[in-house]
Subunit: 290 residues, 2 copies
Amino acid sequence: MRIGFLGTGLMGAPMARRLAGAGFAVSAWNRSREKATALADAGIAAVDQLAEVARDARAVIGMLSSDDACRDVLLGDGGVLAAMAPGSILIVMSSISVPMARELADAAAARGVACLDAPVSGGVAGAEAGTLAIMVGGDAAVFEDARDILRPMGRPVRIGPVGTGALAKLANQMIVAGTIALVAEAFVLAEQGGADPARLREALAGGFADSIILQRQGQRMIVGDFVPGGPAKYQIKDSGAALALAGEVGLDLPVARLVDGLFRELVAAGDGELDHSALIRQVRRRNGLG
Amino acid sequence: MRIGFLGTGLMGAPMARRLAGAGFAVSAWNRSREKATALADAGIAAVDQLAEVARDARAVIGMLSSDDACRDVLLGDGGVLAAMAPGSILIVMSSISVPMARELADAAAARGVACLDAPVSGGVAGAEAGTLAIMVGGDAAVFEDARDILRPMGRPVRIGPVGTGALAKLANQMIVAGTIALVAEAFVLAEQGGADPARLREALAGGFADSIILQRQGQRMIVGDFVPGGPAKYQIKDSGAALALAGEVGLDLPVARLVDGLFRELVAAGDGELDHSALIRQVRRRNGLG
């Protein structure tokens, strides 16, 4: 079965490799072509023209960087969707806004193409291991059809109708960003209170405050390793989209709003290219410890 | 080796049982005596007079409900400390403030008694299984002496000098309270955005947003089971102490401050006896969904 894959960057490349490893015939397109050709050793065929990625494809997977990139690559006369066969499935696995998920689903439906919004969490390590959390929005029947395609990449769970995969990813990012802020504040309190944050992290392991964020991003904060990882500037894209969605459904979420503001301060201070965990720098700066 | 145990409530009782199970001779005192006599099946001797708990004890462990209870039971002429032998160790494992930890250590030192502040995280389940996270403040040599006593109850990690165990527990509680707030906001966003929070919780498992809080308190939020667990009114004791400590060392921690305020609103609204996870009720109420 042939799968088209759009966007073979940090996350997309290992995801495409997992699909090829599971026996799918994968055609890949990437804006910088060399990132697609680099997958030849896995038997993945790089294609030059966008439309080619849809040829004979049971499904096309998009792992593109933003709503705008999705619109550019998927929609319009030269877009991939126009080349997809009726009955095939468009699966958008990058983090997109809920309105974008709905716009794509509508455009797909108009062509007889099914659509799932299926963003992921778990990072490059999860992509390589095929253990990503995959949050899926879309029709239950389409989800069942696509399950075998998604499974080599991780653990797909259907959240609800179209758009709810994107919503779940925004909720995921709200929790991730907020947990980073909590760990950063706890570590700065420890530092200033005469305790060693490294021992704090070790002591908290296994207790109620433990989390993947405490272990991974906490370790980054301790050693000061802020090479991304996930750049902080992407965090504010997600947290902004989460707040916009909250506003749309009439919700005020004060913790999410405050954390979004802290990340915006971090980016405004010039640290947008650093990992999310660099938020501890902003907690220190706000307290004159920068 | 004899251990005195003060406070055999929800947490203290299984901790005392773990010690007895590891071969220590345990004497137990509790304000409501029947909670101490209920441990007779584990070979634990209930004592009537506070001072008796110190008799022949290598260490006395305090698992008392508050700073005030510690002061009442441990300090003063009729307190346990006055009955402890020089060279023995006072180990305070309940959650106390940093100033209280220092006051106890000073009072102990004046009598030639060593002191550790060693609060725990992991709940009743962790206490029963002997898997508590134990955050220890105090001299390194005393910690080494006490390690064999602590180990049947969980995983002791020394954070630093006296007071840093209490500090670590406050940091732990800041993270716990904040994560509850984040999960509550994410679930309310899911509800209002047309997604099922139960599916969201399931999908997030294993991703970067996963945590013990998402799994346990998240499940409570989904089914609406707010029988404690940990009553919300205790949360504001801890978060208040954390903010006080932050103020003492000149720190403003905006996320911790906001979360403390949300829990105070929850308690003021009459939900102080409910589990921490009932914070989702306050998130709903603030948005007119109560």
